[in-house]
Structure formats: structure tokens, C-alpha cells
């Protein structure tokens, strides 16, 4: 039972902690991958977040909040890492897009590329909001809890993130047209 595992991990039981995070690891990794758009950095972020979670677990008084707490730690680590990378203007390794796709996949490669470019233009905080909403399916109230912001703020930030994504895609489309004409 997770409640017992959290309690045991809080007492320093490393095996309990690993048992706790193992079934959550793929989803957590997915969050990191989608925010950071880079597999290596996502692995680093996930590891750092999990070690921080272990280090600070005694601060978690309510075991039932473990998942929300852990996601918040991870999202904050990803945002900090993405912010550093943006400042350094590092060219990240692009995520491969030729992996196994869902059977009802309707996105063209061009769409995926455009989404990738548009998403990368967003600030890390907006990326995180979109990942929480579209990857985890979080409602604004759940986003608010995860990010530690008021629900109204979460709603407005989600709206702004969609708007920014739309603007980024439109800018990318205009650029593509211009490049096509000049080619």
C-alpha cells in the first residue's frame, strides 16, 4: 500500500522508496521529456527530482499527497533546467519523432515538426502548463495544486499558454512560407 511505502520511505527505507517510485517512473519521465524535449536532460531531471524527493521526504506529512508533491518537485526541476538551457542558448538534441505511434495517429511529420518548433519557443513555465493539461489531462484546478498557484491563475496561464502556442505555430508557418518562396 502506497501509504505504508511512503511512511517506510520517510523512515529511511530505501527499498520502500524505490518500490514507491518505480510504478510512477514512466509517467514522471514523460512529464520531463515533454517539458524539456530532450531525452538525456529528461533523465537527468528525473534523477535529480527523485533524489530531492528522497532527501526531503520527511517534510511530507501527508502521505496521500505524495504524488502531487513529487510531480511538483519534478516540474520545478524541469522548469529550472529548461530556464538554464534557454539562458545558455544551448542547442538541445532533438527528440526522435519516428518512434512507435498510436494507431489512430493523424499528425503528419510536418505537423509534428511544427509543433516541436513552436513548443520549444515557449517559456518553460508555459511548456509545463501545457504538459500538465494535455499529457496528464489535468484540469486547471489540478494544475493549480501541482504548481502551487491559485486556480484562477492556472486558468489564465493555461489560456495564455494556448495563445502563445498558437502564435508560435503561426509564426512558424509564416516563416515556412517565406522560406519556401525564397528557395
Amino acid at each position: 500500500m502506497d501509504h505504508d511505502l511512503v511512511a517506510a520511505a520517510r523512515r529511511g527505507d530505501e527499498r520502500a522508496f524505490m518500490d514507491l517510485i518505480r510504478p510512477r517512473s514512466n509517467q514522471l519521465f514523460g512529464i520531463a521529456v515533454h517539458i524539456l524535449r530532450d531525452l538525456d536532460r529528461a533523465e537527468d531531471a528525473l534523477q535529480d527530482a527523485l533524489v530531492i524527493a528522497w532527501r526531503d521526504l520527511r517534510g511530507l506529512r501527508d502521505p496521500d499527497r505524495f504524488d502531487a508533491w513529487l510531480r511538483r518537485l519534478l516540474v520545478n526541476v524541469c522548469i529550472r533546467q529548461a530556464s538554464r538551457e534557454r539562458r545558455r542558448a544551448v542547442n538541445l538534441r532533438v527528440m526522435p519523432v519516428d518512434g512507435p505511434a498510436a494507431p489512430d495517429d493523424l499528425l503528419s511529420i510536418a505537423d509534428r515538426d511544427q509543433l516541436e518548433r513552436g513548443f520549444r519557443r515557449l517559456p518553460p513555465e508555459q511548456r509545463a502548463i501545457l504538459v500538465l493539461h494535455h499529457f496528464l489531462g489535468y484540469a486547471p484546478s489540478e494544475i493549480a495544486e501541482t504548481l502551487g498557484i491559485p486556480p484562477g491563475t492556472a486558468r489564465s496561464r493555461l489560456y495564455n499558454a494556448h495563445r502563445a502556442m498558437r502564435a508560435a505555430l503561426e509564426a512558424d508557418a509564416r516563416l515556412t512560407v517565406v522560406e519556401g518562396r525564397s528557395a
Partner: protein
């Protein structure tokens, strides 16, 4: 593809396109790293993760902010330069045999297990010491027997190598007595639902005094390392039987004692120095040992 109708649907589909699985080696590395990473006491956690904004944070900090021996307030005395209290001479404990360290030049007491995320400088030689990662950098003078347990940009820990700390660490992984230095907007999130103040040192101290869950001393003016602010001693009010909204029924706010020294910086978040003791009876002696060190603090405010 950028029409209004498309954006949300496209993002839904894009994020669900590929199953994402984490490699086993990633979790293997985590297992290895946590084997080297000690867990930290709850009362340290809150001010390190300043982005945490929930009742959880309130709870965590509660166990931290808790404190004060009103009698400890009697130790305060005015002085020249730094006028924070505490006048007795330091009484370092006998240093333990050093142990292997995470860095070649860093040595910690044998009983202490440092973290890999923000390891400190270890056992400090008597004399002048300077932080490495903390912003702003702080220089100070320590007697023999003190240890820098953690040094991050937003978090700096000092503790004496004493039998009390050794025993507490062996029993719980916590230190009994320690000093934390951190730049913070709001160090005392006692109850998230009540927390509004993120202002100056004086405003933060006033908010602490007004908090019905805390028993506090009267804030006094202090100057440390060229920065002025407020000093206040705190504990959870023994007569307070409520819990912060959202707290679990089993929450335990503890009986620690904390002296908080809140220092203003121009256009920056205040710096907070916490002197905490998990055992109330030991707090006065710890203050007497610690305050001369704090009085010697000099911050590099250019950072």
C-alpha cells in the same frame, strides 16, 4: 494547423503519440544516489524549496519555525558592529575523527552523512571561513569544531560537531542544533492559508507576531554584516490546539526552538538566519555558542 479548433486537439494527440519508458539504468542510478544521500529533517525542507506553496509547506515550516525560549530572549544584548545577542564564548565540542568525503579536500565528521546535491565544506578550521555557493557569499569566523553541512545558492548550513548532534543524527538522521542561512521571500509559511506577507524584515517579523499559532518574542532591531533587520524568537504556542487548514489530523508541530534573524537587502529578498534547536532545553546554550559566529557574518551584498 493553427486554427483555434486545432490547438488543443493537436496538443492532446501530440503528447499521446509515443509511449515513453524510462530506462532501467536511470532508476538504478537513483537507487545508487539515494544510498549516498541522507534524508534531511523536515524543518530544513521548507525554506529550501521556496516554490512549494501548499499546506504541506506550511506544515514543514511549522516544524521549523517553531520555537523560542522566551528565556533565550534574555541573552540578547546590544553591541558594537553587529548588535545581535549572545555573548558567551563558544564551546566547541571535541572534533570527531574525519571520515571519507565527497570531495578530496572536504572532510566531514565520521558520523555525518553529507548530501551530494549541495555538499558543504565539511569541518571548518578555526578562523575565517567563506561560503562557496550561497548567494550572497558570507564570510565569518568560527571556533574549532564547526561543520559546514550544506552549501547551495539558496541554502547554507552550519552545525557544531557535538555529541548531541551525533546522537540525534544516529537516531533520526536529524541534527539537534544547527544554523541555516537562506535568501527568502517568506521563511515562515506557518499556514499557507494565512500566509500573505512577503515583504521586508520588519513586515515579516510583524506577521510572525500576529500569527495566532506562534508564541514569539518582541522583534528587536539587529544589524548583521552590514545588513539591518529584525530578530525574533519563536515557537508554536503551547496553547494553540488548532491545525493549519488542510493539515492531516496526525500533524505534529513539534517543540523546537528557533531564533530567526531577518535581514533586508536593497531590492532583493531578505536574508534569513535560523538558529534552531530540536531540544528546547539546549537552545539557550546553543544560542550562546552560535551568536558570536553570526555576529561575525559579513555578506557580499554586491552579489
Amino acid at each position: 494547423m493553427t486554427k483555434e479548433r486545432d490547438i488543443e486537439r493537436l496538443l492532446d494527440r501530440w503528447f499521446s503519440e509515443r509511449p515513453i519508458e524510462v530506462a532501467d539504468r536511470v532508476l538504478d542510478d537513483v537507487a545508487d544516489r539515494i544510498g549516498r544521500q541522507p534524508q534531511q529533517p523536515a524543518w530544513r525542507v521548507s525554506w529550501r524549496d521556496s516554490q512549494m506553496q501548499t499546506n504541506l509547506k506550511a506544515l514543514i515550516a511549522a516544524a521549523a519555525v517553531i520555537a523560542i525560549a522566551v528565556t533565550g530572549f534574555a541573552l540578547l544584548r546590544p553591541g558594537s558592529g553587529s548588535n545581535v545577542g549572545g555573548a558567551t564564548s563558544p564551546s566547541p565540542s571535541a572534533p570527531a575523527a574525519p571520515s571519507a568525503s565527497p570531495a578530496e579536500s572536504t572532510v566531514f565528521p565520521e558520523w555525518y552523512k553529507t548530501g551530494e546535491l549541495s555538499p558543504g565544506a565539511g569541518i571548518l578550521p578555526a578562523g575565517d571561513a567563506t561560503s562557496g555557493a550561497l548567494v550572497p557569499r558570507v564570510t565569518f569566523t568560527v571556533p574549532e569544531g564547526w561543520v559546514n553541512g550544506a552549501d547551495a545558492s539558496d541554502y547554507y548550513v552550519l552545525f557544531p560537531d557535538t555529541p548531541a548532534n551525533k546522537a540525534a543524527f544516529a537516531a533520526t538522521g536529524d541534527l539537534a542544533d544547527q544554523v541555516l542561512v537562506a535568501p527568502l521571500a517568506s521563511p515562515y509559511f506557518f499556514c499557507d492559508a494565512w500566509e500573505e506577507n512577503r515583504g521586508t524584515a520588519a513586515e515579516m517579523a510583524a506577521s510572525l507576531v500576529a500569527n495566532e499559532a506562534l508564541a514569539t518574542s518582541e522583534p528587536i532591531d539587529v544589524t548583521v554584516g552590514g545588513l539591518s533587520g529584525k530578530q525574533i524568537d519563536l515557537r508554536v504556542d503551547p496553547g494553540w490546539t488548532e491545525r493549519c487548514p488542510g493539515d492531516p489530523p496526525t500533524s505534529d508541530l513539534g517543540d523546537a526552538r528557533v531564533r530567526a534573524i531577518l535581514l533586508d537587502r536593497p531590492e532583493r529578498r531578505p536574508i534569513v538566519i535560523f538558529v534552531g534547536s530540536s531540544h528546547p532545553a539546549a537552545h539557550e546554550a546553543f544560542l550562546a555558542e552560535t551568536m558570536p559566529i553570526i555576529e561575525s557574518f559579513e555578506f557580499d551584498v554586491s552579489q
